[in-house]
């Protein structure tokens, strides 16, 4: 996907990056900050971009003593490198995002990306213990530190979460790590329509909760390559072997009682299969698809899913969806039969969805499709404060103008 505009600069140090920002800011050049570019489809494309500044070379481990369970890395480190670095010591940071080979730690945090396992482990923001950011005027500013409890002034780091490069550039990220679970297991079960409600009720009462519980419809090619099943349950279990084994027994018996035909267990490929569900969230089909994410409470997720299904039928679009039973997220990819239809349907689709549901964000789609719609919808009640923060941090509007909610 072509996302960047103008020259691309790849600074080698945080100071260099800050200097480039200062230079651009002083000369009125608009800057797009770029990590791995995997979430450029989230939010609005920037209104203008003269220079792209990449964090690709800020990818080193800065501080890591495994016994402290904390790590500081350059914001441009990929999620895969972070995971591999920590895995050598049996540790991890639960940041679930698409395409970890390219996605960067800084970019994922700045995008405010959140994944299904947050129901169990919390959000990426909950692991963020400190940052250094380069502000638009070239100031390098740090907050937090390398300790896991810290109440020293404002938690400035949090403001950069969800800022999408409009407030400053994260250059260093300090994270809290936790011990990796001993075992990871995926259970997949086809849920024929008639068994669905009963199965979900049973699952809600299990004594061992899965690390994530997804109901997937469509996305066949993206996730499991199977066809012809219209809905399936996707559960991830993590923990000690004994606990995961007990969870599996309980699950099989619950699903059996609900009349679900069979359950597939994956141990070897659990991580890879789980990653495919994450990748699916932002996967696009040329100029034929647009993906929305609906935020809400878990207990009305199925209602929102049904609403989006009805909308897809009305607009003669097909729908791939991942419903997260524990967090309430519904990721919905609407697909048109051909590339000619979608540009006409996309505005009706987004407007129609917003008439029926609040808090919907466009998270993936071809830039040509996204140009016609507002990715965010109505701004939140705190919008005036957000706008004023932008004004105070980036008074010249240097950083990714228009990329964030309400045209920030």
């Amino acid at each position: 996907m072509k996302v960047a505009g103008g020259d691309t600069i790849v600074p080698s140090t945080a100071q260099e990056l800050a200097d480039e920002l200062r230079r651009c800011d002083a000369s009125g050049l608009r800057v797009l900050l770029m990590g791995g570019g995997t979430l450029q489809g989230l939010g609005n494309p920037p209104k203008a971009c003269d220079v792209t500044i990449s964090t690709a070379k800020l990818n080193a481990t800065i501080e890591y003593d495994p016994r402290d369970l904390t790590i500081a890395v350059g914001a441009g480190m990929t999620l895969r490198t972070l995971a591999n670095t920590l895995a050598k010591n049996g540790q991890f940071v639960p940041i679930d995002a698409p395409h970890p080979d390219r996605a960067t730690v800084g970019g994922t945090l700045a995008a405010g990306w959140i994944g299904p396992r947050r129901a169990t482990y919390g959000r990426p923001r909950d692991y963020l213990i400190g940052t250094t950011a380069a502000l638009a005027d070239g100031t390098l500013s740090s907050a937090g530190g390398m300790v896991v409890k810290n109440v020293t002034g404002y938690d400035v780091s949090k403001l950069f979460v969800g800022s999408l490069g409009t407030l400053g550039a994260l250059v260093r990220v300090n994270l809290k790590a936790i011990p990796s679970p001993q075992t990871m297991r995926v259970a997949i079960a086809a849920l024929p329509e008639a068994t669905r409600q009963r199965a979900l009720n049973h699952i809600a009462s299990l004594s061992i909760e899965p690390a994530c519980a997804l109901f997937v419809s469509g996305f066949h090619r993206d996730i499991d390559g199977t066809d012809g099943i219209d809905g399936r349950l996707f559960l991830l279990y993590e923990g000690s072997q004994a606990v995961v084994d007990r969870a599996t027994r309980e699950l099989r018996s619950a699903l059996g009682a609900a009349g679900v035909p069979g359950t597939t267990i994956l141990d070897q490929n659990a991580q890879r299969t789980y990653q495919r569900t994450l990748d699916a969230c932002t996967s696009t089909i040329a100029q034929r698809s647009i993906t929305l994410r609906s935020y809400g409470l878990p207990d009305n997720a199925f209602m929102r899913h049904a609403t989006l299904e009805t909308l897809a039928q009305e607009l003669k679009l097909s729908l791939d969806a991942i419903l997260d039973a524990r967090t309430g997220d519904v990721v919905a990819r609407f697909v048109a039969r051909d590339a000619e239809t979608m540009p006409y349907a996309v505005a009706d689709l987004v407007d129609g969805a917003r008439e029926r549901l609040s808090n919907l964000t466009v998270i993936a789609g071809d830039p040509a499709l996204r140009i016609a719609i507002d990715a965010w919808g109505p701004p939140p009640p705190s919008f005036e404060k957000l706008r004023a923060l932008k004004e105070r941090f980036d008074p010249r509007g240097t950083l990714a103008p228009g990329r964030l909610v309400g045209g920030i």
Partner: protein, 468 residues
């Protein structure tokens, strides 16, 4: 008091909600850290709802007065003391759970709700509110949000900020604004947590509730030295065991605690380690024996597991009441709060010991070892002027030492009034200026809790009461 203030407040929120007599105001000059009420507010108000808080903020603004929100006054750094006078807003009447959503495991609560009351109210639904500062029997959710309060269970569950899903606050103009961590854009919720009342007045909090664990074990071991207990903590973490709490109590403190509470801590040893693990039964059985092995390998003199809930609760009650037992050692104590990377704990403790000795002070330690969060208690007698200065000097030296070890000056108590001059030991002028930008946006007149957190001159233009 500025003319017309009392009348405006009474007119807006009723006579029973406004206090202006010096004898009524004296109590608002203190927190748990303050010895004498040197600073009194011009007025204290006890609003019933968010709308009344808005009215108070507008009135204070019209009179050009500071606004100081206050929870239960259990703070340990002078954070709620009205050092510039003004209007103290207290939340005794805003102490309800507004909504309890069991299915979605969340609750909307008023800021004056007492921390422990939330977990008590949700227990019947198999849920609990995880942050549990030692003050939880008295401290409020709003106050906890203000200081991003921690507690022994942060190790596994995180601090207050990890459990706040959204807030409602009154801004500097007196408008109510609601935030959610699901809102698009900058994480304003996250920036407000831990801002110690300097960015707005919080009027409701959306909290995350967690499922009560299936099984809980609490073990206690005695060690020859504090270092041995620290090594055990490192080894437990190194083995990848997720404990829900890892607390160390040194000899000085364990003797005082046992004499006071008879909770079952082993006395006579150099230190005691308290370990809690929680989760599914199979995992607990395994973790319990693995931890016991680690403890023995690290020289545990004894190692026992609490037999039942009553024994567990007794151990925890005594641990959380540790500061209350200090009266057996000295008439006064000063509790410091600092954090170091976990591996630096033994050196930090050694340094604290030396600093105390240099200043001829008795020091006791009771701390969240798993988090590297230290709480040295410096014992003294307020009637001896030399000792007061010694405590102040020793406290600052301890903070300096922790910073030099890569740590910081507050893990969970906050900066407040007491530590504000030390904040520049942690952050550069540029770092503080960035925080100032946030203040510029949310509190441009520096009306909310002025003269807190930031060193003098770091953030200019704070409001002072006309009479204070």
């Amino acid at each position: 008091m500025p003319p017309g203030l009392a009348a405006s407040l009474i007119d807006a929120i009723g006579p029973d909600a406004v206090k202006t007599e010096p004898e009524d105001l004296a109590v608002y000059g203190y927190d748990a850290d303050t010895a004498e009420a040197e600073h009194l507010p011009d007025a204290a108000v006890i609003p019933r709802d968010a709308r009344q808080v808005c009215a108070v903020v507008r009135i204070a603004r019209e009179h050009g007065l500071p606004i100081v929100p206050r929870g239960a006054g259990t703070g340990l750094c002078g954070g709620t003391v009205p050092v510039n006078g003004g209007v103290v807003i207290t939340f005794n009447r805003m102490n309800r759970i507004l909504e309890l959503d069991v299915a979605n495991r969340r609750a909307r609560v008023q800021p004056g709700l007492i921390n422990l009351d939330l977990s008590r109210a949700t227990a019947t639904h198999g849920l609990f509110y995880a942050p549990d500062p030692s003050s939880q029997k008295a401290s409020t959710i709003g106050g906890n949000v203000g200081t991003n309060a921690g507690g022994p269970h942060c190790l596994s569950y995180g601090t207050t900020t990890n459990h706040v899903l959204g807030l409602e606050f009154v801004d500097e103009t007196g408008e109510l604004i609601r935030t959610s961590i699901d809102d698009p854009g900058y994480d304003l919720t996250g920036a407000l947590v831990g801002s110690e009342g300097t960015l707005g007045v919080i009027t409701s909090v959306d909290v995350r509730l967690m499922r009560l664990p299936e099984s809980v074990r609490v073990c206690v071991g005695a060690f020859e030295t504090v270092e041995a207990a620290c090594e055990t903590v490192s080894a437990i973490i190194g083995a990848g065991i997720v404990a829900t709490a890892l607390e160390i109590i040194d000899k000085v403190m364990v003797e005082a605690i046992e004499a006071n509470y008879h909770a079952g801590y082993p006395t006579g040893a150099g230190s005691v380690l308290l370990v809690e693990v929680a989760g599914h039964t199979e995992e607990m059985n395994h973790n319990e024996s693995a931890i016991a092995d680690i403890a023995r390998k690290n020289g545990a003199l004894s190692w026992t597991t609490a037999r039942d809930a009553a024994e567990r609760e007794a151990l925890w009650a005594a641990r959380k009441g540790a500061a209350g037992a200090v009266g057996r050692i000295a008439p006064n104590y000063y509790i410091q709060d600092a954090c170091v990377p976990r591996t630096r704990l033994p050196q930090a403790l050694h340094a604290i010991d030396e600093i105390a000795r240099d200043h001829r002070l008795v020091v006791g330690n009771v701390f969240h070892a798993g988090d590297g969060n230290l709480h040295p208690l410096l014992m003294f007698d307020r009637r001896e002027v030399r000792q007061i200065q010694a405590v102040v000097d020793a406290g600052t030296e301890i903070l300096r030492t922790c910073i030099d070890m890569g740590g910081t000056i507050s893990g969970e108590h906050g900066i407040g009034y007491e530590k504000r001059e030390t904040l520049s030991m942690v952050y550069s002028t540029a770092d503080l200026a960035t925080m100032g930008r946030i203040r510029d946006v949310l509190d441009p007149a520096r009306r909310f809790n002025p003269n807190k957190i930031f060193p003098t001159g770091a953030i200019c233009g704070e409001v002072t009461s006309s009479v204070a």
